[in-house]
């Protein structure tokens, strides 16, 4: 995992953030991500991100759950251990539907949580680089990926002109790798990486 250079601009207002995102993108800079304290409606659209496929995965997990439940119960109650319950047919579909439903929900929920964690690169013991700690509190943090042609000073000035209250340049690991970030350097004063 290579370290990369990023220019970080911090905004304290949604109303400033949206035009800034638009400006930065039209000027040709590549926004890696915008970290916000809460879900901002329409930001993913403004960033031009592709729609997540998490729900497709969820549908597949759900179908898997339904199929698992149906095949298990029907095998058990018709082939493996048929029981006479109140004179009902062995293949008693209405009675199984609650279980099929529950397993659908269980598979979909657990599967989606795990997939979500994988996609967001979240796991126990994995440390991730924080571009700004206040992104979890009250700042909207825009992270722009640098190339060899990027003039960081120009970019910082550009962000300030567009309403950023704080800008800086940071070197950070982009991906994730269990155990790698423990040795991360302290990137700015007062921060504990």
């Amino acid at each position: 995992m290579a370290k990369k250079k990023f220019v970080v601009g911090c905004f304290d207002n949604e109303d400033v953030l949206f035009p800034a995102v638009k400006k930065v993108r039209t000027t040709g800079y590549k926004i890696k991500d915008v970290f916000t304290p809460f879900a901002v409606h329409g930001l993913d659209h403004a960033l031009g991100m592709r729609e997540t496929s998490l729900h497709t995965a969820g549908f597949i997990y759900g179908i898997t759950g339904t199929t698992t439940a149906l095949s298990c119960i029907s095998w058990i109650f018709t082939k493996d251990w048929p029981l006479d319950i109140g004179g009902k047919p062995h293949f008693a579909l209405p009675a199984w539907i609650p279980i099929m439903f529950e397993l659908t929900v269980l598979f979909a929920a657990v599967g989606m949580v795990l997939t979500f964690c994988y996609l967001c690169q979240l796991a126990p013991f994995v440390k991730k680089h924080h571009f700004h700690l206040r992104a979890t509190d009250d700042l909207f943090v825009m992270v722009i990926e640098c190339t060899e042609n990027t003039n960081t000073e120009d970019l910082k000035a550009f962000l300030t002109n567009n309403g950023a209250i704080e800008t800086d340049v940071q070197m950070a690991e982009e991906g994730w790798w269990i155990g790698r970030y423990d040795k991360d350097e302290v990137l700015f004063e007062g921060a504990t990486a």
Binding site: H45, H55, P94
Partner: protein, 408 residues
């Protein structure tokens, strides 16, 4: 604000269509009256009355559901529905009209000594311990008072909501008048909802429909019917939104709003199925004759096809087709699904009422579709009239901006 089109002009074609549908309906009504209604055979008479019953009840409750939608979103302080709120308002203007027709039909059924409401037969009730036990609820006096009260109050409380909404056309509101306006909206919406809960949410479907099977009961029944009419009502709202969008009205309404309406259509289809299943499964599982009697001829008898078609149209289709985000934002798909859902719940009402009146054979035929076309024609005519009489966008509503910038 200058460029928005505020007044809806009824296209000539729409008028022609609504008159044509009403014409077909009236011909069917008269033909039905002559061939079935005046027949010496009680069974034929019941079929005629039953057909009128399920159509009138269905359309009244569907139109009433749009006022329920407005009140619920008002109570939740929702902003997103403001840009198209005149559509549910216009649909709810049909409640007094359809309600009056329902009242006439129901009172006729109750007072004419027809066989549909077995509990109106005093001799039979006197010798029947079950019906005797229910006679505190199932008696003509209570039926009449409650039916009149329900319809009058739906109309009146809905009218108060619409009247208040007209204030949003008059003059700009400052913070204080705006807050007052929202508060009185909330209060009026709450009043409507309490009455809605006491009627559609509980007693009215028991009284009007479930009492046809006088011995049978299900506590799920009313909620089931509420879900049925609400999802059909949301589909109706979606159809009108799409129609007006296609004609170039409702500039502030876009896919985002349609997406949310689509979510209601999807979610309440699932909710309806949940209630359908809860009602069916408990009865199937406990397998007691006095309960299974309701499902006997529906699941194993002549209504088998319609009973399962109902489940396919109202559950499987919305579940699979409306699940995707892009489907709920696609005008063509939502139109298709809205028509399908309205038709599906109309079928649902058909099997609930006619399945109890005509147990031996399915009566679906020209009369059903004729009466349906009568009501669709009246609905198109009435709603377009109501839309044309008011500005389409409540331009001074305090929450309108929230609706304009709405994102899902």
């Amino acid at each position: 604000m200058a460029s928005i089109r505020q007044s809806f002009e009824i296209p000539g074609k729409m008028k022609t269509w609504s008159f044509a549908l009403m014409g077909i309906g009236i011909v069917a009504l008269i033909a039905g009256f002559v061939t079935k209604g005046m027949s010496k055979d009680h069974h034929e008479q019941d079929i005629f009355l039953g057909t009128l019953m399920y159509n009138t009840i269905f359309w009244t409750l569907v139109c009433n559901a749009s006022m329920f939608f407005l009140c619920v979103t008002t109570m939740a302080w929702g902003g997103w529905q403001q840009s198209f709120r005149r559509i549910p308002e216009a649909i709810s203007t049909m409640v007094p009209i359809f309600g009056a027709i329902t009242l006439v039909v129901l009172l006729y059924v109750a007072f004419s000594g027809s066989h549909i409401y077995h509990w109106t037969d005093t001799v039979a009730v006197a010798n029947d311990p079950i019906l005797k036990g229910k006679s505190g609820f199932l008696n003509i006096k209570f039926f009449t008072i409650w039916t009149v009260l329900a319809i009058v109050l739906w109309s009146f409380l809905g009218w108060r909501m619409r009247k208040l909404s007209a204030q949003a056309d008059e003059a700009a509101m400052d913070g204080e008048t705006g807050a007052k306006f929202i508060l009185s909206n909330t209060v009026r919406a709450a009043t409507f909802l309490v009455w809605f809960g006491l009627t559609v949410g509980s007693t009215v479907p028991w009284l009007w429909m479930m009492s046809i099977d006088a011995h049978w009961y299900s506590t799920m029944y009313s909620w089931y019917n509420f879900a049925s009419t609400f999802v059909a009502g949301m589909s109706l709202v979606a159809l009108w939104v799409i129609y007006l969008k296609n004609k170039g009205y409702l500039e502030y309404t876009n896919q985002e709003h349609l997406h949310d309406v689509g979510k209601f259509m999807f979610a309440f289809s699932v909710f309806w199925t949940y209630l359908w299943f809860s009602q069916y499964m408990l009865i199937w599982y406990s397998n007691q004759p006095e309960e299974t009697i309701y499902f006997k001829h529906r699941v194993q008898g002549p209504y088998k096809g319609i009973f399962f078609l109902n489940l396919i149209i109202n559950f499987i289709c919305p579940l699979l087709i409306l699940m995707k985000r892009s489907a709920k934002r696609n005008y063509t798909l939502v139109t298709f699904m809205a028509v399908l859902i309205i038709f599906g719940h109309w079928i649902d009402y058909y099997q609930q009422i006619m399945g109890s009146i005509s147990k031996e054979h399915v009566t679906m035929g020209w009369l059903d579709f004729g009466i349906l076309s009568l009501f669709v024609g009246m609905m198109i005519f009435g709603v377009s009239k109501a839309l044309a009489s008011k500005p389409l966008i409540p331009k001074y509503h305090p929450f309108l901006k929230e609706s304009i910038v709405h994102h899902t």
